[in-house]
């Protein structure tokens, strides 16, 4: 276990060492929120949308952007590099689980991002629309749990997608499609905003449990909904952990290492 904690610490230190990159990401996050705020403010000129007020919608966006983009891991690119430059051969030989190694080394970065971007999200929300009108203090621990589950879901989706580098020589398109699906299915708009047929599809896919679930809990908390959303997230965590481990062991068997 100690070796994994070391990986976590190394990941955290790495992130803190590249302050300019963090500053750039913070600027990007601020720009996204302000652009979306401008867009939704214009849309809300004609009244409410799907039962959410502008105040709730802006806080919803702050939360979804935080979960889906600010706290996403770099595992896809790292795995791509490992597989394409051959260093996967060394990584797999190490006395640790390859997936757990990436998860722990990313967690340091993700924890740091969550704190820093979370603080920025609160500031941006307060500046643009004021305090969340539907905020409930008792929802905080459950929202935090939901954020944690959403980060794990997103991480394992990226891990599984990163393994496509074993099959295709160039897999950039895969991650592009993944990020757009995330965006459409819950990050930019609540799932309730989609037509009925698309809502059914969205709720059957893990994408909506990355942004929509924690943001929905934050802006429109109720106990029944909370249990359903958390149960959905737990289901997808278990499914994706099993799926990515199965895919990883398959990839390991198919791996051919030549030379020294």
């Amino acid at each position: 276990m100690r070796k994994y904690l070391v990986m976590l610490r190394v990941g955290l230190r790495n992130t803190m060492a590249y302050r300019t990159a963090v500053a750039g990401r913070l600027c990007m996050y601020t720009a996204f929120i302000l652009i979306f705020f401008s867009l939704w403010r214009d849309i809300y000129q004609d009244g409410g949308v799907e039962g959410l007020t502008l105040n709730q919608m802006l806080w919803y966006l702050c939360m979804t952007e935080l979960c889906a983009f600010a706290c996403r891991s770099n595992v896809f690119r790292q795995m791509n590099d490992d597989i394409k430059n051959g260093s996967i051969a060394y990584q797999l030989n190490r006395p640790m689980n390859y997936g757990a190694y990436h998860l722990l080394s990313s967690l340091g970065d993700m924890a740091f991002s969550f704190v820093v971007f979370g603080a920025l999200a609160v500031v941006l929300g307060l500046i643009t629309v004021g305090p969340l009108t539907t905020f409930r203090l008792e929802s905080v621990p459950l929202v935090l749990l939901s954020v944690l589950l959403s980060i794990v879901i997103n991480f394992h989706m990226m891990l599984a997608l990163g393994l496509t580098a074993f099959v295709w020589e160039e897999n950039t398109a895969v991650i592009l499609i993944h990020s757009k699906l995330l965006f459409i299915l819950g990050v930019f708009v609540p799932v309730e905003f989609l037509p009925a047929w698309a809502q059914t599809i969205a709720k059957c896919l893990p994408y909506s449990y990355v942004g929509w679930a924690p943001a929905k809990l934050l802006v429109a908390f109720d106990w029944q909904n909370c249990l359903n959303l958390l149960a959905g997230q737990v289901f997808w965590v278990v499914t994706l952990v099993l799926l990515s481990n199965w895919a990883l062991s398959g990839a390991r068997r198919a791996l051919q290492i030549n030379g020294g």
């Binding site: 300019t20 990159a21 500053a23 750039g24 600027c27 990007m28 720009a31 996204f32 652009i35 401008s38 867009l39 403010r41 214009d42 849309i43 004609d46 949308v49 799907e50 295709w168 020589e169 160039e170 950039t172 398109a173 895969v174 592009l176 499609i177 990020s179 757009k180 699906l181 965006f183 459409i184 930019f188 708009v189 905003f193 989609l194 037509p195 698309a198």
Partner: protein, 261 residues
């Protein structure tokens, strides 16, 4: 004319290099088209739910923004992808190789690399324009011309921001932000932004000239507006090139031995 010949030569070489790996080329391009198409679905739903206009733009207007912007950005990355690497080349002294080349230095640098995946953006822009705009030959000509001018403007903006590296050290992050802002300001209706942002869109990040003026031209053509677009592109590009060459005087060789394959 000589410049254009060099540009065409580079384009042919880069294209044939990409076509060496056909499956990968097609996979990436198609992936990009599918990924971009997800947004069409979003806007269809948004306009269906809200009705009317957003920021003074209707669905067709927004689709125009979403066709001309990827087309211009994609074309820029197909022809001048190396503009993304300028800061690294300046900071690490990798410009040495290009300084020895005959012909225009900046053109040689920018055209040296081409993005394969950007072909998806180019294709997507053309398909979306064809499907949503019901355009006649004149509008097609304007779309292609404005897209080409937009590609030059995207490249010029990147050159401008990367050239600051000659004076202030690495501006990698600033340049990445510039790309993000160009795209974001171009794909959403202009009317949603406050006045201060619209001023930025007319100057430092010329998104208005990349997407919004082309929209006005295609909807209601006016020769003066077209001249304004061409004039601004020429001036902005000249300013970016000027800053690059001014900065070049401060460039220090890396004395690095570089192998170019």
């Amino acid at each position: 004319m000589k410049t254009l010949r060099i540009l065409v030569k580079y384009f042919k070489i880069n294209l044939s290099s990409a076509m060496e790996y056909r499956a990968s080329f097609l996979g990436q391009a198609v992936g990009m088209v599918v990924s971009n198409a997800a947004f069409v679905l979003f806007w269809m739903i948004a306009f269906d739910r809200i009705g009317g206009a957003i920021g003074g733009y209707d669905f067709r207007d927004v689709m125009f923004l979403w066709s001309v912007t990827p087309f211009a950005y994609g074309l820029c990355m197909v022809c001048f992808e190396n503009c993304n690497n300028l800061t690294r080349m300046i900071v690490t002294g990798e410009l040495d190789t290009y300084l020895l080349y005959p012909g225009r230095l900046l053109l040689n640098i920018l055209c040296a690399r081409s993005s394969v995946i950007a072909w998806g953006d180019v294709g997507y822009g053309i398909i979306l324009f064809a499907v949503t705009q019901n355009a006649g030959p004149g509008q097609w000509a304007l779309f292609l011309l404005c897209g080409a001018l937009g590609a030059v403007l995207v490249a010029a903006t990147l050159v401008l921001f990367h050239s600051f590296s000659f004076f202030f050290g690495s501006t990698e992050v600033l340049s990445s932000l510039a790309v993000e802002f160009i795209v974001d300001f171009s794909i959403y209706p202009k009317g949603i932004y406050p006045i201060a942002v619209r001023v930025v869109m007319l100057t430092l990040i010329p998104a208005t000239f990349i997407a919004h003026i082309p929209l006005e031209l295609v909807r209601d053509f006016h020769p003066l507006k077209l001249l304004l677009l061409i004039g601004f592109t020429v001036l902005f590009t000249a300013a970016a090139c000027g800053l690059f060459h001014l900065g070049l005087k401060r460039y220090e060789s890396g004395n690095a031995i570089v192998t170019r394959l």
